[in-house]
């Protein structure tokens, strides 16, 4: 599997309150959408090799709630939860998102699945209300003790290859 620039995840901050995550996948978008919305499938990738997923709850309808809970390798337990605001199967998901480490802070996530050259272009736009909460969101990866897991990660990824 050759890695091209499109196959790399890119994270940018288009404005002071936004985070944009993009990536291309070599699979039709209805499959990417499935992997994104079915709990048994989410369990297999969302942990990023940095811990154990404790639960994935999804009520995929407008107004329905979602919650992903995880225990990081360092022992730190955290979760993300929110509510679906808009659902266009295979195309678009809009939901709120709150990190357990910052209970009062709600972001709005817009995930778009676009067909591209037989594959799928995925875009996740995270809209925060303030720059402070956006920054905290970017930091949350580090709070979860993720750096420690890096060598472990590299090993896991090598095994996958």
């Amino acid at each position: 599997m050759t890695e091209t620039s499109g196959r790399r995840a890119t994270v940018t901050t288009p404005t002071d309150t936004q985070i944009l995550i993009t990536r291309e996948f070599d699979a039709p978008r209805h499959l990417v959408y499935r992997a994104y919305t079915e709990p048994e499938l989410i369990r297999r990738w969302w942990h990023a090799n940095r811990g154990e997923i404790q639960s994935i709850e999804i009520d995929l309808r407008v107004g329905g709630l979602w919650k992903y809970a995880m225990k990081a390798n360092g022992g730190f337990e955290f979760s993300f939860h929110g509510q679906y605001r808009e659902i266009v199967p295979d195309e678009r998901l809009v939901s709120t998102e709150t990190f357990s480490g910052a209970p009062g802070v709600e972001a709005l996530d817009t995930t778009t699945f676009t067909e591209k050259d037989g594959g799928t272009y995925l875009e996740i736009l995270v809209q925060h209300q303030t720059q402070e909460s956006r920054d905290a969101h970017l930091e949350s990866g580090m709070e979860a003790g993720l750096q420690d897991a890096l060598s472990l990660l590299e090993q896991a990824v090598r095994e996958l290859a």
């Binding site: 995840a9 994270v11 985070i19 996948f25 499959l31 499935r34 992997a35 920054d135 930091e139 580090m142």
Partner: protein, 110 residues
Amino acid sequence: MARAATTTDAFNAVAEPRRRQILDALVHGERSVNDLVEQLGVAQPVVSKHLRVLREVGLVRAREDGRQRFYRLDAAPLREVYDWVRDYEQLWSERFELLDTVLEELKQEE
């Protein structure tokens, strides 16, 4: 990595659009206050105020030359901002590599 709430670090300093404009102007080399006033089309006290903030967080350095004061960029404090985004990007890269594996399986099932 805790940060102060006010504009005392690089992350907050670059959040202000006008200060980003100043940094952009300095990317191309040293500039005097007058150069910046002219280039940005902003009043001198405003430029000076932003330069003071940028100096406080170490993003610009000043040099006196006669009656003129020249400013240049020191990008090192931006490293911290960059690292956060790269760490977060790394997290998503790992997720997506695992997602690739899931997708390969789903494709074969179809």
